[in-house]
Symmetry: C2
Subunit: 440 residues, 2 copies
């Protein structure tokens, strides 16, 4: 199965009600269960994971498990590499850090066998789960589901080492931070699983960060598009790439807690829009503080200025997010935009080299900004939703510095001091507050 | 290359003086450098290993590195498995414990690159180093040297994860404790290396255990046969299997310290007998306390008694080492023999079940015994060497309980209280004491 090249095909065709164990066409449900680093953080936790898997297995379901490394292990490995060489060869870095998932895959298989559940571990190269050559942050090119399906047919629970795959020339490749979510979705697609359950340390996807917005509520369902926008602006529950892959491959993803009792109704499900009956206009409010605001001031007003600024940045592989151009009373322009904090130094460097070409006056950088985003499929049709945002912020005296929009998202850049105030006000304004403050 | 099936062929044919970098036929020397767990025990030690490898590489030699796991890591992995299931599936156990060598292979490659030495890691499955299906203590079936030789031709130093290989059905297999020595020898054979250097925490092979016999001296050279006998009776410097493989494949093995300055003359070399010009009659005195003595007493004197005792033990896969039969004044026999301590309980069990068949009186077990062995190729021709042993022990009032011999070894079982006395006396009697007590 190729992840990148095949057209989207409907894997859900034969899928029935989630709460039933048998699909419409009489097949047993196939479910991928993915457990993150804290869920397998020690031997006792691994035993609990095995019990969870056994419970699903005992229902007659066909289960594939995907695991991360025990929490802390990957960081230790990264540290070892960095101690030897800050710019360690990504191929060797991958061989070192992929060991963490190798260990947990074997341990979970042992724990399952100890409970009487037939099981075996799979490393990325054994499946194989093939990747491109971008070692350290590789993309999945294809997963061969043959061996996994063979195990399922034989009643064996495969335990897949997440985060890792087989790159070109038979080298071990890792998918980058959060890559185990992507492994799980890719494995689910390869075996046409009915669902991909991501067990994590939160119990679902919320309308906003519950640590900031006490009245945030858990969403039962959210669309891939909304989840993608939320993930990309700071909701760290699911890795953005895994959501994109799930959307392309139409894998139903569920996020639920591995630290609480759960059943088939627990957590939040990420699905196609047409599977959601009662659509909310707004799904959630997210924030991101990974932005640096750069202002290029006192630029003479002449054509081609935007190209003179953004061309060199693009050539240097610097991603520009929000952009606003303004003209002062002096007839000179100011171009303000954001880049990720990691790119700030490189962006300054590029712009200083292009100073003569652009003929600007000053270059200003600010970190004291936060991007607040309202995400929801209702944005497509309901223009009043944007107005609600600006009015709400204006009423609190919050100045909007830059605006950007996508089809289902409006983002504003504001002074970071107003972050919590803005999020809570917007959460209330869009009617997202739950009635009882369960999270307080 | 098949380890088990091919006839022994002479890999040394094109080999010149060890102290020269160019072999007789003008080729650059190829050397395998193996580093044990304490030698790669932390990042600082890994840096020192890389410096050692670089020094050899800079001489123009073609180097392949083989590494163990960082000391302590394998034990941690074994413990994890045992915590989940004392009888963990050996295939999963292997996936878990093999991760330790994976980590060090990558880290050593990174450390070499940081010193400007082109390098890459190899896992067992990447080479491949193929094993049988005896997971947890697998035997090497063959090593494909193609990729390693390709690296050497390109000036790249391969760093091989020791201890692990690829078993049947693409599963990870480990070779059992000390298996990295065997990996190193097998890799050396596959690429027809001129020498296999085993860097460890001692500086060579001694005539006896220097902790017991202060005047023990380091041997410059020792034959495979002698090393095999010494390794099998408790000299823990080299794993027995690795010595056997080196002998069959005629791989020249050198043991030297990774904690001291070394040069081409350092350490001890294990070679074919005909490469040793001045042959010592006795190579060393070793001891083993892994013996349990079992005495089956009061057996009626009739034919077939030995078969009645040793047949059932053999069927139960219990290896019997030393045997002596004696007859008392009462015309009844006593059969005394040794088994390894691990097999003692099973041996008692077998014998108690066979009590009616053998018709013996009592069954006695003793742990207070030690096996002392004198090893040397001189044993073959010089019968006086055995007499020296018995006279020496008799003079100290040490009672010999059981005797066994091989072509180049005499072993005696004595009361363990006399262990140190016997070893020191024999060391002196065979003229092995070094003149100055360097080790005191």
């Amino acid at each position: 199965m190729s992840m990148s090249d095949t057209p989207v095909h409907d894997l859900r065709a034969d899928q029935g009600d989630l709460s039933s164990d048998i699909t419409k066409n009489g097949k047993r449900k196939t479910i991928v269960m993915k457990f993150g680093g804290t869920s397998v953080g020690n031997i006792e936790r691994i035993r609990i994971v095995a019990q969870r898997v056994k419970a699903e297995h005992d229902k007659g379901r066909r289960i594939v498990v995907v695991v991360s490394a025990m929490s802390g292990v990957t960081n230790q490995m990264v540290e070892y590499c960095a101690e030897l060489d800050k710019l360690a060869d990504p191929k060797e870095y991958d061989a070192v850090v992929a060991s963490g998932e190798q260990v947990t895959s074997g341990l979970v298989a042992i724990a399952l066998q100890a409970l009487g559940v037939p099981s075996r571990s799979f490393q990325g190269w054994q499946i194989p789960l093939k990747t491109d050559d971008a070692h350290g942050k590789a993309s999945i090119e294809g997963v061969d589901g043959t061996l996994l399906l063979k195990c399922l047919d034989e009643g064996i629970v495969p335990v897949v080492a997440g985060f890792q795959g087989l790159g070109p020339n038979d080298r071990i490749a890792t998918l980058g931070r959060g890559g185990s979510d992507t492994s799980a979705v890719a494995v689910a697609a390869s075996i046409k699983a009915d669902q991909c359950d991501i067990y994590t340390d939160v119990d679902g996807i919320y309308t906003s960060d519950p640590r900031i917005v006490k009245r945030a509520k858990r969403l039962d369902r959210i669309t891939y598009e909304e989840m993608l926008e939320l993930a990309s602006v700071g909701a760290k529950v699911l890795q953005t790439r895994s959501v994109g892959l799930a959307m392309r491959e139409k894998v139903k993803v569920r996020v639920l807690s591995s630290f609480a009792e759960t059943d088939d109704e627990s957590g939040s499900i990420v699905v196609d829009e047409d599977e959601i009956v009662e659509k909310e206009l707004v799904a959630g409010i997210a924030s991101s503080q990974d932005e640096s605001k750069i202002s290029v001031r006192h630029i003479p007003d002449r054509p081609g200025i935007a190209a003179a600024i953004f061309g060199p940045l693009s050539e240097a592989n610097i991603n520009v997010d929000m952009i606003v151009q303004s003209r002062g009373a002096d007839q000179f322009n100011t171009m303000t935009f954001t880049v990720s904090k990691a790119d700030e130094a490189a962006a300054r460097d590029v712009l200083e080299k292009a100073r003569e070409d652009i003929q600007y006056g000053e270059l200003e950088t600010s970190h004291d900004v936060v991007k607040i985003s309202v995400v929801g499929i209702g944005m497509r049709s309901n223009t009043g939703l944007a107005a609600t945002m600006f009015r709400t912020l204006a009423e609190r005296g919050i100045n909007v510095q830059v605006i950007s929009t996508s089809e289902i998202k409006i983002s504003v850049l504001i002074d970071s001091a107003y972050k919590e105030l803005a999020m809570r006000a917007l959460h209330t304004a869009y009617g997202l507050d739950q009635e009882e403050g369960i999270n307080t």
